[in-house]
């Protein structure tokens, strides 16, 4: 059974559907990257997975040994946190609260867990530093350690490299990869960064407008229209037209094969549609 599976999932705000027809599965150990432009519904889907927003249709099923509240979450930073007086230790430890039930104070087990996660992310030396005095990359590591404290299986990262400089970004991606490979933790990452997604992720979910444009492995994604709409408009149009031709062939059988072949030829020579160019340009 999959760790998380979504069937025909849809979300709506005040009756207006913003996302529909989502079908995908996440297996233990996967590294799923959720792609899409601004307003494509990435954040909505994320809230849905975290149980912060109820789906308007379909359902999310969690595997037997995963409860909905066991997803570690790395949110985007809020303005409140910028000048928040808290030590790194206090922040990381607060990730352990979810498993404590009604017990008011941390036990040795929780403290050990926080220490282990801090060691894994190499931030043990920051333990007594003030969170607001850290650099952006260090702050992300601290929040990542907190997310790891809240889970044993899955972490969900919301644009983890937003606002980081290039070198720190690379380190952050490597760190996430290590968490995925070495600690065996399933990673779900929301991102704009298609380069990183196709490099590190095992699976890609691409959202567009209000629906799912692509879900599958990274290899398949490289050949999909959704990928090329991001990377290169011309090729996307080509793939779309090719698909349309095949569809046509299937429907009409042999009789109109010649006409279809002609369309295909046109597709190869025709310049890309302006809309597709625009999309490619944005990416």
């Amino acid at each position: 059974m999959s760790l998380i599976s979504c069937e025909n999932l849809s979300f709506a705000y005040e009756g207006v559907t913003v996302l529909h027809g989502l079908n995908f599965e996440i297996e233990q150990g996967n590294y799923l990257c959720i792609m899409g432009e601004n307003g494509a519904g990435k954040s909505t889907l994320m809230k849905g997975l975290l149980g912060l927003k109820k789906p308007s249709g379909g359902k999310v099923t969690f595997g037997e040994d995963l409860r909905a509240r066991e997803i570690g979450y790395l949110p985007q930073q809020t303005p409140v946190q910028k000048d928040f007086p808290a030590s790194v230790w206090e922040v990381v430890l607060s990730g352990c609260l979810s498993g404590m039930g009604l017990r008011p104070f941390y036990s040795k087990a929780e403290k050990d867990r926080a220490v282990r996660n801090m060691q894994a992310l190499e931030i043990m030396d920051l333990k007594d530093r003030c969170y607001r005095d850290l650099s952006g990359g260090q702050q992300q590591r601290v929040l990542l350690a907190r997310a790891l404290c809240a889970t044993r299986k899955v972490i969900l990262l919301d644009e983890p490299v937003a606002g980081l400089d290039p070198l720190v970004t690379i380190n952050m991606y490597k760190l996430i990869e290590r968490i995925n490979r070495e600690m065996g933790i399933t990673v779900i990452m929301v991102s704009h960064d298609i380069q990183a997604a196709t490099r590190y992720a095992s699976h890609i979910l691409h959202l567009g407008e209000d629906r799912q444009l692509f879900f599958g492995t990274r290899e398949d994604y490289r050949h999909s229209a959704a990928y090329h709409s991001f990377m290169d408009g011309e090729k996307a149009v080509h793939i779309w037209k090719k698909a349309a031709v095949q569809e046509e062939k299937k429907r009409s059988g042999g009789t109109r094969a010649a006409a279809a072949a002609k369309t295909q030829k046109e597709a190869e020579t025709e310049s890309p549609a302006p809309e597709a160019v625009q999309k490619g340009g944005k990416a």
Binding site: L50, G51, L52, A68, R69, I71, G72, Y73, P75, T78, V80, Q81, D83, F84, P85, A86, S87, E90, V91, L93, S94, G95, L97, S98, P104, F105, Y106, D128, R129, C130, R132, D133, R146, A147, A150
Partner: protein, 280 residues
């Protein structure tokens, strides 16, 4: 001077004021840290005005002031919290509406019944003379309850303050803890209002927290420093008010201003030292 201070504590009402004041100051200070960090500083101010309205009505109806004020202010606190969470009227506007609205109701009730007498004046600006033995007992009980609840929920309140989305995503009932914070704030405001006055009570909530945030770098140390600053300023203010026959609430706020300036200076000094070290 020392014998004047010694003399001051021979008066039972001064001892009462001191005990009550310190308890309220401690509670207000620790809660204030959360409120300031959550950007809810003005909630205290709004609630104190609601408290004034409730006290005015209680006086008009000859009811026990606190028995009326406590439930009314608690309801207002929940209402404000809900308004800030999900409504078309945004947080600060909602507070302004409720605060000035209840002040107006209070003033109206006062002018139609008793008129501007000493009682009303005391509600606005506070008085240490207005406190009875029962008030002290009630304050003691309420403060103890606040402290116990706060200690019990301390880590959860930290989590909800630092990052509410994360807290909710990992299964913490953020709404419940926000309610707890609102409830405790309402209690502190009503209890502290008798002494500080409804116009000045929110300073007890905001000043110590902002002051201690100048120099402290961990949540726990901010809490502790805030409590200490608050208690020290209260005692100092009380003594000044006795020595110079000054209004109590205002003296305490002035002490808090002095503490804020001192802490800010220390922060500035530290920053200068650090940048010097860096430039070398």
């Amino acid at each position: 001077m020392l014998h004047l201070i010694a003399e001051m504590f021979t008066y039972p009402f001064m001892v009462r004021a001191l005990c009550m004041g310190v308890l309220v100051a401690l509670c207000a200070a620790v809660l204030g840290v959360t409120l300031v960090l959550k950007r809810y500083s003005m909630i205290g101010d709004g609630l104190s005005h609601v408290g004034f309205g409730a006290l005015a009505i209680a006086t008009a109806m000859n009811a026990a002031p606190l028995a009326v004020a406590i439930p009314v202010v608690i309801v207002a606190a929940f209402l404000l919290l809900r308004l800030t969470e999900n409504s078309k009227i945004k947080g600060d506007a909602a507070i302004a509406l409720i605060s000035t609205g209840s002040l107006a109701v209070g003033v109206m009730v006062v002018s139609m019944t008793t008129g501007m007498n000493t009682d009303v004046y005391n509600y606005l600006f506070g008085s240490i003379l207005s406190m009875s033995q029962e008030d002290v007992v009630l304050t003691g009980v309420v403060s103890a309850a606040i402290m116990i609840l706060f200690v019990f929920f301390y880590h959860r309140i930290f989590a909800v303050t630092f990052d509410e989305t994360f807290a909710r995503a990992t299964g913490l009932n953020a709404r419940l803890y926000n309610m707890v914070i609102a409830l405790l704030t309402a209690l502190v405001i009503v209890v502290g209002m008798r002494m500080m006055g409804s116009l000045l009570i929110s300073s007890l909530v905001v000043f110590p927290a902002v002051t201690s945030m100048r120099t402290c770098t961990t949540f726990r140390s901010v809490m502790i420093a805030s409590a200490i600053v608050s208690a020290v300023c209260l005692v100092a203010g009380l003594i000044i008010s006795y020595l110079y026959a000054a209004p109590t609430g205002a003296s305490i706020v002035l002490c808090n201003i002095a503490a804020f300036i001192a802490f800010a200076a220390v922060q500035k000094g530290r920053e200068c030292l650090q940048s010097d070290r860096k430039s070398i």
